[in-house]
Symmetry: C2
Subunit: 498 residues, 2 copies
């Protein structure tokens, strides 16, 4: 007789309780291979259940490989051959994953381990976080998004949950984003928009398109740190172009273009990460002209296009791109929600078609579920309201940060540029005579998280730079954090750093 | 004076009507660079609005580059330099995207164009679709999913919408999937689970991990068609191992392993796509033993693990994987919703860590929003109920398909194996004496969509095979479709095919 205890208070349906009960008995060895189980009729009587309930449980146990069911004979426990133990269970691993990995994947792994180690510092209590370039979750318009998601699923449920029909992403959101880009001066239509799983995937897809052995891409130096391992993962070379007060040094780029053919030029013209530099109209025109002459695509990263809250920024390079050589990429991660993972590329249609081919084979499609919710969010006006609010909030936060820095930091200790918007301030800590200061460590001890400058450079060793991001800190926290930064500088220059 | 018409019935907020009105006037040339606009005070009076509303509009116009705002002077229309026209606007494209693409990306594009052309056939009215391996949308548990999404956002809103904290995916869903895999005999824990954007991304990520120039992977022949261009995109070679009645020919694989080192062996032991073949316990043990001897990872694709509705399928290879060389991948796309794009890898922890590195640089993270909704869907019991329902439905559909094929198709015309579950039936159409038949075209004319066998082979030219999928057709449609297939065969053998 099969002893199974059903529990009225268990929220699980009865048929599942039977399944779990039998499985436990098999896995614990109470029932062994070949043991008979009662017929469905018999077990149903024993447990006072409908026979179909027991039949359903047996069928699933059979499908899962626990039982043998044959017509006109008793159900029996099936032989389950030597099931392996859980990972770490002692048996020798036969694969050396380092040797099994491609060299490029190995480099990515080293960079990943390095990045993981960096987050290991220990901080004083209540640290002020100038390191994160996440969004301030206190500003999330959660309720509007929940309503938008609910509307999206009601309107388009079945089509959102089947295979997406368009490999470039949910068409209505592409329309919406094209309209939004037009308001930034970029004349594009929906077929030129390709949605990605965040801006990082946009970079990856574009590099997948152009990455051939021996090719090189021009990057700003310093640059977005996560593109550096990506360039290595693709086996590409990098031409580093130093960033000056008005963006990348075009004479360096021009000289390189005379001698070699580049696969593309990667640039962030607004609030460059990490320097915060915004280029002028003249710089944008010269860069575009240079690339037109040499027929080199520009990968323009407009990651904070929406955060022009001081109103002093010119239009994107893409807005002047009559010959369609600019691949523009944007993201919602720096103005709305990083967690919806929505970025996009605006480019020549043929370029978009070629990206769709890479998408087809690398992931078939991205989920339209978050895309449709974001579309509804735009349609309801919630996006416009949110951007206006972000402008008000960050205009004040940046003003507070710049004012406090000027008040607290002695010009002998540090220098920085005033950004025209966005979240980033790049500070060069001046050398302390006679000694090297570990600014990151010193600041950690005082309860301030900052990004050191090093990982933003592909190869050169920079001076002591710190990147401050104000994306997750409010005005009080900014004042407190800058105060601690000033205290660190004071101590360093007074020779008290331990 | 600035003439703006505000419309009370317009659902747009007033400040946005002002923005749009001014933009239209600038874009249509009514307002030109340098033109003065009224002060905020003056325009507010004219339109009987609060001054802050007008100020908000002006600020956004300024941020978007339409206006210059300076203290103590009138707002003016800003100079917007030569904005490019919409795509296709006549100017010469300067980039030859074919030459700009890497050779591997070019191959992917050719394969994509080929796939696009294939969907161009014209069908008779009300075609029966045996081609799609999508899910039958009539079976979607939409309402349960909507409730699950709503709960997920209520419970975890802010954390789901920030940057995901775990690069391997939403931890509670990884717990849930580990539990589900354990019910299939696979002993894994959450840290060994890596969520992907559908199973296709799982394949791509694993190939990214191992793809080094000159390496080869063993694949079944025929195999899942979308892995073929992916192998080429990665610049890998393929060793094709023919599929026999009990899966890939292990003597061919063994011979190859003696002479060369493979990066991995890719196999679908259940309901193989496209042949429907399910391998025996003995075959699985021999394959695993062979790969253990040669220390070669196995990539086990369990794309229809859940669809063992006839209960005659043995446990996955991964269930016996004591030495952790099996990289198992699964998906929700073939049992629940393809549109949530949720697949997973279960593998050795170090392998998972190395995949996290590739994820970090190629897309940072995947969205936890659909993952959390699916987790809630499991928790509520809706997933178990759905799988039980799918088993009932597809057991009957497959029985109907096999019975109807036997009744309608003369053994002189065609032969096929009876699958042990899943959705696929692989039919070899026997040669019609004296002529080559275009089965796909002939069937299209009779209103039946089928997949021809060709694209499932990497290089060899196969005999005339058709893959029938029953995933989107109900029993009536199956009977109708098989009837039309029999009619096509009858006509072909009677010499009437045009």
């Amino acid at each position: 007789m099969l002893l199974l205890e059903l529990d009225d208070r268990d929220p699980k349906p009865v048929y599942r309780q039977i399944i779990d009960g039998v499985r436990r008995k098999i896995e614990s060895g109470v029932l062994r291979a070949g043991d008979k189980l009662p017929s469905t009729r018999r077990l149903a009587e024993d447990l006072s259940l409908h026979r179909s309930t027991v039949a359903l449980s047996y069928q699933e146990l059979w499908a899962l490989g626990y039982l043998d069911l044959r017509p006109r004979s008793s159900p029996r426990v099936r032989e389950r051959v030597r099931i392996a133990g859980a990972n770490g269970g002692g048996d020798e691993a036969l694969i050396d994953w380092g040797r099994a990995s491609a060299p490029a994947a190995g480099l990515a792994y080293q960079a990943y381990l390095q990045a993981e180690r960096e987050t290991d510092l220990s901080y004083g209590s209540s640290p002020v976080d100038f390191r994160s370039l996440d969004m301030d979750r206190r500003l999330f318009p959660l309720e509007s998004f929940r309503r938008a998601m609910s509307r999206a699923l009601l309107k388009n449920g079945a089509s959102l949950l089947g295979y997406p029909s368009d490999r470039a992403g949910f068409p209505p959101l592409r329309e919406t984003l094209a309209r939004r880009l037009r308001s930034h001066g970029i004349s594009v239509t929906a077929p030129e928009i390709f949605l990605t799983n965040g801006a990082q995937q946009a970079l990856d897809m574009v590099l997948r398109l152009v990455a051939a052995p021996g090719r090189a891409v021009a990057i700003e130096s310093p640059t977005y740190r996560q593109i550096i391992p990506l360039i290595r993962l693709h086996g590409l070379k990098a031409l580093e172009v130093p960033v000056r007060d008005d963006g990348m040094d075009l004479s360096v780029l021009a000289a390189a273009l005379r001698s070699k053919k580049l696969a593309l030029v990667y640039t962030m013209p607004n609030f460059q990460n990490p320097t915060g530099v915004t280029t002028s109209q003249a710089h944008r025109e010269r860069l575009l002209g240079l690339c037109e002459t040499h027929r080199i695509p520009i990968l323009e990263d407009g990651f904070e296009e929406e955060m022009k809250y001081f109103g002093r920024v010119v239009l994107p390079i893409k807005s002047m791109d009559r010959h369609r050589l600019v691949i523009y990429c944007g993201t919602l991660s720096k103005v709305l929600f990083p967690g919806v993972r929505i970025g996009w590329i605006a480019a020549d249609r043929e370029c978009v078609e070629r990206l769709k081919a890479i998408r087809l084979f690398s992931e078939l499609a991205t989920s339209a579920v978050p895309q449709a919710a974001v579309h509804e969010f735009f349609e309801s006006g919630a996006y416009d309201r949110h951007v206006s609010r972000m402008h008000r909030v960050f205009r004040k936060r940046m003003q507070t940060a710049l004012r406090t820095l000027s008040q607290e930091l002695d010009p002998e200790w540090a220098e920085w540029r005033e950004p025209k918007g966005g979240y980033l301030i790049w500070i060069r800590m001046k050398p302390v005579p006679g000694r090297a200061v570990d600014w990151e460590g010193l600041l950690a001890g005082l309860g301030v998280k900052v990004s050191p400058g090093r990982p933003f450079f592909f190869s050169r060793t920079p001076a002591s730079h710190l990147r401050l991001s104000i994306s997750t800190v409010n005005e009080d926290e900014i004042v407190e954090g800058v105060g601690r930064l000033a205290e660190a500088a004071r101590r360093a220059h007074a020779g008290r750093t331990s």
